[in-house]
């Protein structure tokens, strides 16, 4: 068998081996791939940067644990950036399986920055029917959430004393893996004019560009790539960036295999014709 034929009929185990190596190397020796920051991610970063210490921002953690790999780094980076700047956070978790995961993240980051519940942040937790919850919070956070996640009445939390509704927060960043994003756009922004930015999974990203163009959202982070951009900008964490390097090598290797297979196919066909 000549070279091209052999290339075309390469044993699958060589493919496995090369793909394995392409993933193992960046896991063991993480390197940085260039991160191109897009405007839609930068505007979220700029917004958070523009906040003063003591300002309040609303962070909506609206995804299930299955989507963690892609969007968790976004939530983490934004939370860390806020706490580093002493910006206060109100956090909700409107996805059914999300509250426990959100709580873990919050307590982990809060411990790192020495932040206290009720003083530096307020975790509202979960209530069903996200559309209605988002609408009700436009009246007063206390309607859907008389108490926070830990069962403490909002009225007794120092940071919530003068906070009633969206008018008292500087903006909302919604990180989501499902249609809760739509509710935030339709009800949050549409009804109450909330200044809104979103972070979504890779598959969802394309659907939300129209809202960016129309100004209904001011920023958009899409999937692992958006997360890595935000990490690079804010310099808070590098999980998504690391993952990006693994993805890059693996994708390149697979594409090269496809190209090699086609070269083998065309060259051997050419020879057969002769």
């Amino acid at each position: 068998m000549d070279f091209y034929n052999r290339l075309m009929n390469l044993d699958r185990r060589w493919v496995y081996l090369v793909v394995g190596i392409a993933v193992i190397i960046p896991v063991l020796n993480p390197f940085r791939v260039p991160v191109f920051v897009t405007q839609e991610v930068r505007s979220i970063y700029d917004f958070v940067e523009s906040l003063e210490p003591g300002d309040i921002m609303f962070l909506a953690i609206d995804y299930d644990p299955q989507a963690m790999a892609e969007v968790h780094p976004m939530a983490r980076a934004i939370m860390r950036q806020c706490f580093a700047k002493d910006v206060k956070l109100i956090i909700s978790a409107l996805s059914q399986n999300g509250p426990g995961m959100a709580e873990q993240l919050i307590s982990e980051v809060a411990r790192e920055f020495g932040k206290k519940s009720g003083i530096d942040y307020c975790y509202l937790g979960y209530k069903p029917y996200f559309g209605l919850v988002i609408l009700a919070m436009g009246q007063n956070f206390r309607i859907p959430f008389p108490e926070d996640y830990y069962g403490v009445p909002l009225d007794s939390l120092p940071m919530m004393r003068d906070v009633r509704n969206y008018d008292d927060v500087k903006g909302v960043v919604d990180i989501s893996s499902g249609n809760i994003t739509d509710a935030w756009i339709i009800y949050g922004n549409g009804r109450y004019d909330v200044k809104l930015a979103i972070g979504v999974t890779g598959v969802m990203t394309a659907n939300y560009y129209p809202y960016l163009a129309s100004g209904q959202i001011f920023g958009l982070m899409g999937g692992l790539k958006g997360a890595s951009e935000y990490e690079a900008l804010s310099k808070q964490g590098d999980r998504a960036i690391k993952m990006m390097s693994i993805q890059t090598t693996a994708h390149i290797v697979i594409v090269l295999f496809i190209v090699a297979g086609n070269i083998g196919y065309f060259m051997s066909r050419k020879k057969n014709k002769k």
Binding site: L10, V15, V19, V33, A206, T248, H251, I258, G261, N262
Partner: protein, 207 residues
């Protein structure tokens, strides 16, 4: 009798639940919900059939000394091992042995099976993405473009690469997906309708 009654049951239950979408009455909805719970209970009981099937098939294999029969012993022992742990060793809560076995045996096994897909997806791409016909070309070229567009290499090559992949997702991909979805839904609905009216009674089996 043996056929007509089941068909009647299926028809009534089907019509009842088709109407659910149109009746917002609270009490009625709670009845719907209760009866739906019944279906879940039914499955819990039907699982006995599944276990019986596993035991029968594997016992026969062991009895006949079929090739690989020692592994069937592993299968049956591990099945009973899990059931024993769940019932006699503290239930299924966090920190029980059942939980530990789940996290350190079942979970790694399953997630490694899942991870094998990374290799399979590569070998399938290598083998099948040969540009033999126009259809194959469209398939292969789109896949390669989307793969490149998802990682920073794309931007390195061409500034608008990510926008281009998004266009692929947003226009041709979306159109194809919708066409399949609408067609498949119509097919599913007409099959469902035939089941409901008893025209299609395969699920009941033969006489």
């Amino acid at each position: 009798m043996r056929r007509e009654i089941p068909i009647a049951i299926c028809f009534l239950a089907g019509i009842f639940y088709t109407l659910e979408l149109f009746i917002p009455h609270r009490q009625v909805l709670s009845i719907f919900e209760t009866v739906r719970q019944w279906a879940q209970i039914l499955i819990a009981f039907a699982y006995v059939l599944a276990i019986a099937n596993i035991l029968r098939v594997n016992f026969h294999a062991i009895q006949k000394n079929q090739r690989d029969w020692p592994y069937k012993v592993v299968l049956i022992v591990s099945l009973f091992f899990m059931i024993t742990l769940g019932i006699f060793f503290g239930g299924i809560g966090e920190g029980t042995i059942f939980d530990w076995v789940y996290y350190h045996a079942q979970y790694p096994l399953q997630s490694t099976m899942f991870a094998l897909l990374a290799f399979f997806i590569a070998s399938a791409a290598f083998r099948a993405f040969r540009i033999r016909t126009l259809e194959a070309a469209l398939l292969a070229v789109t896949a390669v473009l989307v793969m490149i567009g998802r990682v920073p290499v794309g931007e390195e090559l061409w500034n608008n690469f990510p926008d281009f992949t998004e266009w692929i997702m947003n226009v041709p991909q979306l159109a194809g997906k919708r066409a399949i979805m609408i067609g498949a839904a119509l097919g599913a609905i007409s099959t469902a309708l035939k089941v409901l009216t008893g025209l299609e009674r395969t699920y009941l089996g033969g006489e």
